[in-house]
Amino acid sequence: MNRMWKIFVKGLVAENPLLMLMIGLCSSVAVTSSVSNGIGMGLAMTFVIVFAEFVISLFRKLIPSDARIPIFIIVIAAFTTMVDLSMQAYFPALSKSMGVFIPLIVVNCIIMGRVEAFASKEKPLDAVVDALGMGLGYTWVLIGIATLRELLGNGSLMGARIMPESFQPILFFTLPPGGFMVFALFISLNLWLKRKMAANAVVAKEAA
């Protein structure tokens, strides 16, 4: 259990795909102008990574290494298309507002990276846990960024106005420059968190 837990949590901060590894960045700025988009994207992504890791881990012994990249692509693309179609069918508004970014999950480096580095070598269950950790690590960052951006840029959360009437939305936050700036601050926050955790670990070690 402990081992599983470790696989799971590393995706949240220490090896957070967005903030530490700096891959799969595009969607993090693009879809985070509103919280609902952030959640939608996060879940879509989590779905794809979980199933892709699972399937590939399951078949890992059958995949010839020379053709592994195309095969990974096929698997990921299939799940991405499924998400895309389902969203179009059941969440048309969300699907519309995220536009091309759902299909682009297919080239999200996080998925390829984890599939290659983890799923193709480990057991299916571990792969799923790893995928969940990565997916949630990705999702919390999206939601965090989106919360700040929607709150300040639109005065609302999930589309519901929550700032007082007198608050004038600061459009900067919903526009591209604001997205980049907030993202910059999140990375720096995460670095700080990580440093803090490392420092705590040292203190703990010394105490022990």
Binding site: I63, A67, I74, V75, S86, A89, N154
Partner: protein, 201 residues
């Protein structure tokens, strides 16, 4: 080398076949819903413009915008029984942040039956207020920007800031949308004149 080719080819083909089979299944399930959604959305908009109509027939050809900036992309005849109530024109023009698409209803009495903005990618808080149902250009009458066109005569002047209330600080958006409405009105009424002169009214 031959063996390699075959091996890779088959492996890839197998995976692709598997993946696509799964996909095809999902597709067959979702496809009707997606297609249905689009149709329903259009229908709802049309119905919204002509609440009394019971049939909408697509009109093929013969509808051309005469001003360069505006393009007509579709038209539907709204009918109730045999009677023609009016036409709905889908038209687009370039606005601040890209193309804007509107659906404009023209009734047989040469009035704008109503106007709806289908697509608009202008700035939130500015141009995008055109699609904000809570943004009123006339606060007392609670009229939205597209809402103000309902009932307007085609031959009226459509001068932004004089006859048409502009969205504040968004003259460009206002002008673009207004030009669509005006042109759609002209095109629609011309068609009505040619094809439905014997309307019920």
């Amino acid at each position: 080398m031959k063996k390699d080719i075959l091996r890779l080819g088959i492996a890839l083909a197998l995976f692709a076949a598997g993946a696509c089979a799964a996909l095809a299944v999902v597709y067959t399930v979702t496809e009707p819903t997606i297609a249905g959604l689009e149709r329903e959305q259009l229908k709802a908009s049309l119905q919204d413009l002509f609440p009394d109509a019971d049939s909408f027939d697509a009109i093929e050809g013969g509808l051309e915008s005469s001003v360069p900036g505006v393009t007509v992309t579709g038209a539907w005849k709204a009918g109730r029984g045999d009677a023609t109530l009016g036409v709905a024109i889908k038209a687009s023009a370039s606005s601040y942040g890209g193309d804007a698409v509107m659906l404009v209803g023209v009734s047989t009495d040469r009035r704008i039956a109503g106007a709806r903005v289908m697509t608009l990618s202008d700035t939130p808080g500015l141009g995008a207020n055109a699609v904000n149902p809570a943004y009123f250009v006339d606060k007392t009458a609670k009229k939205t920007f597209p809402g103000q066109f309902a009932g307007k005569l085609i031959n009226d002047a459509f001068e932004v800031k004089n006859d048409v209330v502009a969205i504040s600080a968004s003259t460009i958006t206002s002008k673009a949308l207004t030009s669509i409405v005006k042109e759609a009105g002209l095109v629609g009424s011309a068609w009505l004149e040619g094809n439905a002169s014997g309307g019920t009214r």
